[in-house]
Subunit: 399 residues, 2 copies
């Protein structure tokens, strides 16, 4: 029942017909973009990249953007060319998809304990010219990683960088700061194929706290956990050279702490409606929305319009999209394939049947995961030209 | 920057390595399934298919299941082999993806007004051995469809079946019942390439009203709208042969109305946590959960476990997943790649690091859209064997 593969597919997996159709847009105006489509304002994205690199350089910090945001080897390499040391991902298969597509430094900032996944990673370490790193929060995870590397014949000392993840307040992954981290760090250091690279310390839930005061309070707690753990490690003769973490909502605070040496912010690349709702911390660069959904009104009522972008074109875990253009419109949930548009005030006008609508996704990362490619536009998304089509190489790389 | 396509991809677009790895599971036990994975209990699914066919046959109704649920040509053809007359989809590219993969009767139960999409559809009508149908709710949509068919050289009378969509209470797409529907039906009948096939009447929001009394009230209103419109059409000499619509939450009511001739329910195939929360209508077949996410505990706290399935493996528009197994666990939002598991009562036990967890998605349709393929299991998902891998052919077919 399994048909032969269609030729000409995208690197990310789009069937050839859709991918070829997208490639045919290059050099033409945005009017030809089929809807719904994931569109990057390349000018805005380039400015975001430059602002983040400048921030990291001013603070003497390494920048390792989280590629879970964009899942694209081309964008990862763009970030690295601009000054990033590498990228983070959350999944083994994301790491391998990016490495196979040419990204040379990839850190899985997450736990992996399935032997089959660790075997795939070990084969990647052995066979690909990419430097890999991984986070751990269990002895089982450390021992299985070491076993997988040995089974794959990886004998090089320090072949994989390992970060001990400590829970700095998010309450998800990570061992407790202090003694538990020390014990795990010792275990890492006992395996010659593993290099104890430092601590993974990321406060995920703090990223979306709206008030700078709340984020500062969360990061104060996280900073103390990191400092105490580093002190303990050093007292026991263990050097944990780098603390890595931070997101788009808090990286100014990690940078100011003097403890973190590497920033993992990812969403700054595109921004989204959720991050835009945060009040900006003093000293944070001003990032622009660079990621949009181009949609079309395909049904029109007397008091509402319906556009062709629903849950299948954008994620709603952090709220519904906002309408970037036309002005004065409110997007309501219309299900998997539809959005319901109404006017914000009596002075605003409903769009007509066939009109274009530009949406800003609520949350960029899982929105990107719904698409096989981006359409990259220069000169503004509303009336610019398509410069290139960018594959979402690691879309659906769940394992 | 666009790499050459990798050989051996899935029909749905999964990179060859992931697709080949999945194919390697066939004939083996479920223990080898990488997580997170979309797994079908084929026995339960077959029983759901048989129950729905039996219901439709007992009521003398056509069954045209909504393939927006499964997006798979193989499953569409399975439904048709069991007695369905065809399938519905919501998008032009979904229709073309299924038609190219061998589905011979596809109805786009949604509006399409973009000329480029209508051109693709017209080429499909001309070049593929599939019978196509489409819904309309605007004169622009009807005229552009006719133009696209003419431009593609489609001259056959009644080449495409057209259903006039009326808004029966959902408040999304569709013209008002009565005069507006009559005017649009006349326009359809005026184009020789279009066959006025009937009315599209679907009350989407009624599907998820928990109480049978509320659903009955919603469908009473919908039934009156359909009856009045049919009466008006007939009074003006227009024959609208078929009323098509209904979903898994209400189809018993449409069947009892004597007006609907075709049922479009789709979710019955898999069911999901949201539909399971509905109180069943009298006379409705008992459908079983047939779609699961297999996940693994990859981090373990003292009072919580973390599994490797988050927003990237299941949609949350209709709520978070429930935990099918082990018993006594509650799933909380852990972000894009994680789920936080806690115990429901003090008597329940947290799973250990590495343990398998089976989730029931909150909403099957957009969950399926996140995956490139299903793993089909016989003998129960917990300890059965993998029978086949089924491509999600129309995943990401947004246009």
């Amino acid at each position: 029942m399994n048909a032969a593969p269609e030729p000409g597919r995208s690197p990310g997996g789009a069937p050839g017909e859709r991918w070829q159709r997208a490639l045919g847009l290059v050099g033409h105006g945005v009017a030809g973009i089929d809807t719904p489509a994931l569109v990057i304002d390349l000018d805005a994205m380039d400015r975001n990249i430059a602002r983040m690199v400048a921030f990291a350089q001013e603070h003497g910090l390494r920048l390792r953007p989280h590629a879970k945001t964009h899942k694209s080897a081309e964008l990862a390499n763009l970030q690295m060319a601009a000054g990033a040391v590498g990228v983070c991902v959350q999944k083994t298969d994301e790491a391998l998809a990016l490495a196979r597509a040419g990204v040379r430094d990839v850190y899985i900032s997450n736990q992996v304990i399935a032997p089959a996944k660790l075997q795939r990673l070990a084969h990647g370490v052995r066979d690909l010219p990419t430097r890999f790193a991984i986070a751990v929060d269990s002895a089982i995870g450390v021992d299985r990683l070491a076993t997988a590397l040995a089974d794959a014949g990886v004998r090089q000392p320090g072949a994989v960088d390992v970060f001990v993840e400590i829970d700095v307040g998010h309450g998800r992954c990570g061992v407790a700061p202090g003694e538990a981290a020390l014990a795990l760090a010792r275990l890492v250091a006992s395996h010659s194929a593993l290099r104890l690279a430092g601590l993974q310390a990321y406060h995920g839930s703090a990223q979306h706290q709206r008030s700078p005061a709340k984020r500062s309070a969360s990061l104060k707690q996280a900073t103390e956990a990191v400092r105490d753990t580093l002190t303990l490690l050093r007292a026991h003769g263990l050097d944990a050279p780098l603390v890595t973490g931070a997101g788009t909502g808090t990286f100014v605070l990690e940078a100011a702490s003097g403890l973190w040496g590497e920033l993992q912010a990812g969403s700054y690349l595109f921004m989204d409606a959720d991050y835009a709702a945060n009040q900006t911390l003093p000293g944070a660069p001003a990032f622009e929305h660079a990621l949009f959904i181009r949609a079309q009104v395909m049904s029109r009522g007397t008091r509402h319009a319906v556009c062709d972008a629903g849950h299948k074109s954008h994620a709603i875990d952090s709220g519904l999209p906002t309408v970037a253009w036309p002005p004065g419109l409110v997007y309501a949930n219309g299900g998997d394939e539809h959005g319901i548009l109404t006017t914000a005030t009596a002075a605003d006008a409903l769009p007509a049947l066939g009109d274009t609508v530009w949406l800003v996704p609520g949350h960029c990362d899982p929105t990107v995961n719904l698409h096989d490619f981006y359409i990259g536009v220069r000169g503004g998304v509303q009336d610019g030209r398509v410069e290139r089509v960018i594959a979402v190489d690691a879309r659906g790389a769940l394992g």
